[in-house]
């Protein structure tokens, strides 16, 4: 039976330390350059509208990583899980970026409040008056209630993420088991709030880009992608930290194996949800619903849809199936990186047809803004976690996570 070397765990590096300023500097630099490049491309010909859509896609992407992190933390406490204590903090840190993501959301909110229909057609008062269907939805889809909802979402996300992060870091000092009980106690209401806010946020941010279209499963769809994105991010983050000598003993192959299993499960779950949505709309064949997929399978979008079908589901499914793939870190890293890219393809496929419904308008800035925004997210994660231990050192279930192994 393999034993974690507790002495090594006790003595190893657990803080970002001098790595933090480096990561923050590089990621922030990349982030600013990435997002700024979008502005430049917009100015030299791609147009602001393209930039807006690119930006929205990139924002929806990083938001999903943060929300995925929140889910990982909340569900851990809800189920009183033991195995993932060692890999929990990345979830807390990702979620703790949420208050700051509000700043990144401001440009989108600004466009809506300015009454511009460039991004959301419904935000244009003229459209809201003349388009019959949008007129009927105006009590929900109008700039004021959109703004109020998003403020509410961010307040709820801030409260939840700060709570779990603060209590957890507090426990690093005090080791008080009562904190664990408190987090477990509040995890259930947090989960309810998480489910509702994520659902309505995805309706607002993504579904209402095509304000005529609707799908009841859409919130679950965004959720499944968010968890895929976060788990991939978490796997890569721990590999990165270990490469720099942090948590080399505490995070073992067993934890990667389990993160890999969850990633596999959510790849499957995403496929299940995506299939449910597609098949039911295809089969029902009602024009007001099929139009959404009609756009997404005509012209070059058909190619993107195929990439998604294979890249997000049919290829990684067998790829992550075997035990070997989840325990060989190189292979797991490959799939995690692959899924992070595919998750963006998924978001891109949701957002961009609203910009151009015939041709996937792939522009360099779709990549640079995405990389930029993700870098900003990484910088935020590093900044939030610059002082704290990356291992919940005094969590009462830490020993369980360290002793844990897959049979």
């Amino acid at each position: 039976m393999h034993q974690v070397d507790l002495e090594a765990v006790r003595n190893e590096r657990r803080h970002l330390g001098e790595l933090a300023p480096k990561v923050i500097r590089i990621a922030l630099g990349l982030g600013i350059v990435g997002v700024a490049s979008g502005v430049v491309f917009a100015l030299i010909g791609a147009g602001w509208r393209h930039f807006l859509f690119s930006y929205t896609a990139a924002f929806a992407y990083v938001l999903s990583l943060a929300l995925g992190g929140m889910f990982f933390v909340v569900v851990k406490h809800l189920t009183k899980a033991g195995w993932n204590v060692t890999v929990r903090r990345i979830g807390e840190l990702s979620a703790a970026t949420l208050p700051f993501l509000f700043l990144l959301f401001l440009p989108i909110l600004g466009v809506v409040l300015a009454g511009s229909g460039e991004l959301f057609r419904w935000a244009d008062p003229e459209v809201a008056r003349t388009d019959h269907l949008i007129h009927a939805k105006a009590p929900w889809l109008n700039p004021t209630s959109f703004a109020l909802r998003w403020v509410l979402f961010f307040v709820i996300w801030t409260v939840i993420s700060r709570f779990f992060f603060k209590r957890s870091v507090e426990q690093d000092e005090s080791g008080d088991p009562a904190l664990t009980k408190r987090m477990e106690f509040l995890s259930a209401p947090s989960m309810i709030l998480f489910a509702l806010t994520l659902t309505f946020a995805s309706f607002d941010l993504l579904m209402s880009l095509d304000a005529h279209w609707f799908s009841t499963i859409f919130g679950v769809y965004y959720f499944s992608g968010a968890v895929v994105g976060f788990l991939s991010f978490a796997i890569l983050a721990y590999m990165f930290l270990q490469r720099f000598g942090i948590l080399q003993s505490a995070v073992t192959v067993e934890h990667y194996h389990d993160l890999g299993k969850l990633l596999f499960a959510f790849v499957f779950f995403w496929g299940y949800i995506a299939f449910s949505q597609y098949m039911l709309i295809w089969y029902g064949n009602i024009p007001e619903e099929t139009v959404w997929f009609q756009h997404r399978q005509s012209g070059t979008w058909a190619g993107v849809a195929i990439v998604l079908l294979f890249g997000h589901f049919l290829i990684p499914f067998p790829g992550l199936l075997s035990r070997h793939a989840k325990r060989k870190l190189g292979i797991l890293a490959f799939w995690a990186a692959w899924m992070m890219i595919m998750h963006y393809v998924d978001i891109y496929y949701i957002v961009m047809p609203n910009f151009d419904s015939h041709h996937a308008p792939l522009h360099v800035m779709d990549i640079t803004v995405w990389i930029g925004m993700t870098s900003l997210f990484v910088a935020l994660v590093a900044w939030v976690g610059r002082h704290c231990s990356l291992l919940p050192v005094k969590d009462p279930r830490l020993s369980e996570a360290l002793a844990f192994e897959n049979s």
Partner: protein, 475 residues
């Protein structure tokens, strides 16, 4: 082990520093074997068993008599009529398939999630699953009208070159439910082999020696056998996991592929799955709470198990509530007047009574499980899970009947009324379910003894401070 853990408070402790034992620590391997085997071994079952069996068997006989009547007279004996051609039989089918989801969830998904508390209840739940699927399979079979052609459901090569319509989700149901029944049965039986061998080894009468002997497939309990057994159990669990999602998803397709408002909505598959697990756990609880008292299983199926199941009921009930809410919201948001009409009609139309039974039983009452005191109160638990059973039947009734009885053309609206045959057949299906279940209680090991022993504290476990006795791998 420690005899000092005797009070309920310690036993049910949520202390994060140390995991509470999964079964009562006063039990040892021997007493587990004795407690469970004794149920199947007593020469005569208690009188109450006979009484229950008599009732259940009579209801079953009534069910089969009614089926005979149905075949002779035709489906006109049911209330199904224009415009609601799908009435009780489909409602009952979906209801029973839903009930049959707890078993596989517990044996497959909770297994993969290393939820070791499942060992005390999995056998029970798996058995219930099989019997529920039997009841479910009955209804579409007799619904075809000309029952002697029921085999046409299967793609049997035939000289008429007649094939089932592969594009119909009703056919997918045949495969989905068929696969599910097969795998659940295998899983149940497979898990039972070591325990059947225990009963065989302890058997006194010649007949039980032979029968348990045949069905335990020569199990000796050697290390090699255990090794292969556990590997194959893991593989079966992995194979059964997608089935938990697939069956009720396909059942939901029966409705959701149609263009009928109230049926055609994309959230149906995960919503049906959550509802199925919800109703399945409610039924496990309905049977488990009395059974553990009756057979003295309180040390194996502890208050912790009851509480955990109540938590699962609360969680899945909330998912169902989420789906109701989102459906309602999107019905308005879609801007489709037919959609909004159907939902308003459900809540305030002629079937409002059924709708509010559904909402209160499935969404409102289970919220009481937020309180620990109620989760641990057997009486209130029984009341709530009974209400859930009722509510989940009504959910299917609301979905099937409200959408059909008032569709696009007001001139063709109607009001569905069940006939006496409808009601008695529903009652009869419970008779069939309980008949099978009572036989299971009488003759088979109703708790997975070998698995329970696997999660009991033993001497060679990891000794690290703070680590629970059962920390480690899957099994």
């Amino acid at each position: 082990m420690s005899s000092e853990i005797t009070t309920t408070a310690e036993f049910l402790s949520d202390d994060p520093v140390k995991r509470a034992p999964l079964v009562d620590p006063r039990l040892d391997y021997h007493s587990v074997t004795e407690t469970v085997s004794a149920i199947a071994e007593r020469p005569k079952p208690p009188k109450a068993w006979y009484a229950a069996f008599a009732v259940a068997l009579s209801l079953t006989l009534m069910l089969f008599a009614l089926i005979g009547y149905l075949i002779v007279e035709g489906v006109g004996v049911w209330g199904n009529n224009n415009p609601a051609f799908w009435g009780f039989p489909i409602v009952n089918f979906v209801f029973w398939v839903g009930i049959g989801h707890a078993g596989t969830l517990i044996s497959a998904i909770l297994f993969l999630f290393r939820q070791k508390w499942r060992t005390s209840i999995n056998r029970f739940a798996e058995a219930m699953t099989i019997f529920a699927v039997v009841c479910a399979g009955l209804f579409p079979g007799i619904h075809v009208g000309r029952i002697w052609f029921a085999y046409w459901l299967f793609p049997v090569p035939n000289q008429m070159e007649m094939w089932p319509n592969f594009r119909s989700p009703l056919l997918w149901d045949v495969f989905a439910v068929g696969t599910y029944a097969t795998v659940s049965l295998l899983f149940w039986y497979f898990g039972m082999i070591p325990d059947l061998a225990t009963l065989r080894d302890r058997a006194r009468s010649r007949l039980s020696k032979i029968l348990y002997g045949v069905f335990s497939l020569g199990w000796t309990g050697s290390a090699r056998e255990w090794h292969r057994y556990e590997r194959s159990y893991l593989i079966l669990a992995a194979l059964a996991t997608p089935l938990v999602l697939s069956v009720h998803s396909v059942v939901s397709f029966d409705f959701a592929v149609a263009q009928l408002p109230g049926w055609h909505t994309t959230i149906f598959p995960p919503y049906f799955v959550a509802g199925a697990i919800f109703s399945g756990f409610a039924m496990v609880q309905t049977l488990m709470v009395p059974a553990r008292r009756f057979f003295g299983l309180e040390k194996i199926v502890t208050m912790r198990h009851i509480e955990n199941m109540n938590k699962v009921i609360l969680a899945t009930g909330s998912m169902v509530g989420y789906a109701y809410g989102i459906e309602f919201f999107i019905a308005w948001y879609s801007g489709n007047p037919n959609e909004s009409f159907v939902f308003l009609n459900r809540a305030f139309g002629p079937y409002a009574w059924a709708y509010w039974i559904m909402v209160s039983c499935n969404v409102i009452f289970p919220q009481l499980f937020w309180f620990k005191k109620i989760r641990r109160n057997l009486l209130i638990t029984m009341v709530i899970v009974m209400l859930v059973n009722v509510g989940m039947w009504f959910e299917r009734f609301v979905i099937v009947v409200t959408s059909l009885s008032r569709d696009f053309v007001p001139a063709s609206w109607g009001y569905f009324k069940p006939t006496a045959v409808d009601l008695l057949m529903l009652l009869g299906s419970f008779g069939l379910f309980f008949t099978l279940f009572l036989l299971f209680l009488r003759f088979l090991p109703i708790v997975a003894m070998a698995e329970v022993k696997g999660v009991m504290p033993h001497d060679h476990g990891p000794k690290e401070k703070g680590a629970p006795e059962s920390a480690g791998g899957e099994r």
